[in-house]
Symmetry: C2
Subunit: 259 residues, 2 copies
């Protein structure tokens, strides 16, 4: 049997799975990890010690936690995006103007990453203890407003590649799980210039999103404004109102970009 293409490095995948298990469990012991991943304790033992040695995990008694060594890498990645510092301020501005939650998201490898997040009234910019929207979170493209806005600005070819890679997993009853339905939706988004999310990601959460395009009409990211359904009125005029605030902010941002 001949190999096709590059052979995945299993040991690395194991180490990463261990870190993921520690994160998802909000801390975990050796036995927790071994049990969850079905690995021998001795195996996990070696991995854990290696990861601690490298700083990617920290040991506190017998529980392990995600280490701060991820920071130098994540900040490097974040700052590599030329829009990041500008977009940050826009997120704060959007949150204040609308009194809702606002975030800036970019696409990488077919997934959406929140680079910055803010709540309107809150003084804790960029931070929210347990919000699913805090900075650093990763989403699918098809079930959030900014994700759909970005998809709408990509070529059908790239959209299809993304769908092939990640599928259309449902997170609520309203998630679009049908490919042709999604393409219809993307067409609508293109026509009206912004995307909406009607509880497709989380029950009770609505949002409006719009993409930022660079000088060559390439998508560089997307902003969205959202909040609980009871606060974000469903009627078309208030949605359009929010969308207008978004689009104005983006226009202002795009005019600042080098071209």
């Amino acid at each position: 049997m001949t190999d096709d293409g590059p052979r995945p490095v299993k040991t690395t995948k194991t180490s990463l799975a261990i870190v993921r298990a520690v994160r998802d469990g909000h801390g975990a012991t050796l036995s927790d990890v071994a049990g969850r991943l079905d690995l021998a304790k001795s195996t996990v033992h070696n991995h854990l010690h290696t990861l601690v040695d490298e700083g990617f995990l920290v040991r506190d008694g017998d529980t392990y936690h995600v280490g701060l060594q991820f920071l130098p890498f994540s900040e490097h990645a974040r700052n590599r995006n030329p829009l990041y510092s500008t977009a940050r301020k826009r997120v704060y501005s959007l949150a204040e103007k609308t009194g809702n939650e606002a975030d800036f998201i970019v696409e990488e490898n077919g997934r959406a990453y929140t680079l910055e997040y803010a709540i309107g009234e809150s003084t804790a910019r960029g931070f929210s203890g347990s919000s699913p929207f805090r900075a650093g979170n990763r989403f699918y493209m098809h079930n959030c407003a900014s994700g759909k806005a970005m998809l709408a600005s990509l070529s059908d070819e790239r959209v299809r590649a993304i769908l092939d890679r990640w599928g259309l997993p449902a997170t609520t009853d309203h998630t679009i799980t049908d490919e042709s339905a999604l393409f219809d939706e993307l067409e609508t988004i293109r026509q009206r210039g912004y995307a909406t999310n009607e509880e497709e990601l989380i029950d009770g959460y609505r949002s409006v999103g719009a993409a930022v395009t660079g000088p060559d009409d390439d998508v560089v990211g997307a902003f969205s404004v959202g909040g609980p359904a009871y606060r974000m009125a469903v009627d078309e005029s208030s949605t359009r109102e929010i969308a207008q605030v978004l689009l104005d902010e983006i226009d202002s941002l795009e005019s600042e970009l080098p071209n």
Copy 2:
């Protein structure tokens, strides 16, 4: 020959070294990495593809970059610190009050990590394109003001453990490289309540730092305020002035902490 203790997982170390090489080179090609780490191209090839698949690297043509997949982990780690959201605001406040650079640092595994950073006049909170002090950076404890402030609040035993692990590498001519000299310095810091950094980290950079202690007198982090030597006057009275701003801010913060 019998093993002593846990055996490091070499494959994982290799993967991490590759990611580090990519970051340090601000992007790198397969050959770059293979050359720098002295590994076979085919080996690097497999690692790169695995890391891309996991999202920790991104491929752009033939150059690889650090991926945003580090973000969900770093933010998790950062938010795990109960002081983070409060400390953020204090950093902004300190930067504004002093008109200098301010940051909040915590210790992990004997190293100091910048959790938040701000420049006084700048509107770009927490961000600085190329500053060595931006959020996410990692320092040694012995050659920065906040690091020394934290060391001064730790037991001699722990200090010695940290020194054993990381040594006293010099980054300028003024870096303290002698162990007993450092312990003398720590004693001074304890007596006056704050630490200084007289171009011990970077030539031309001076700073003042003080530690934050929790209810049980355990160190939870440290703030520092600093700037170029031409702006941060060397005389004792202006240093004390800045130290007072720092200590007041910390007092105010500590009074907010649960006890």
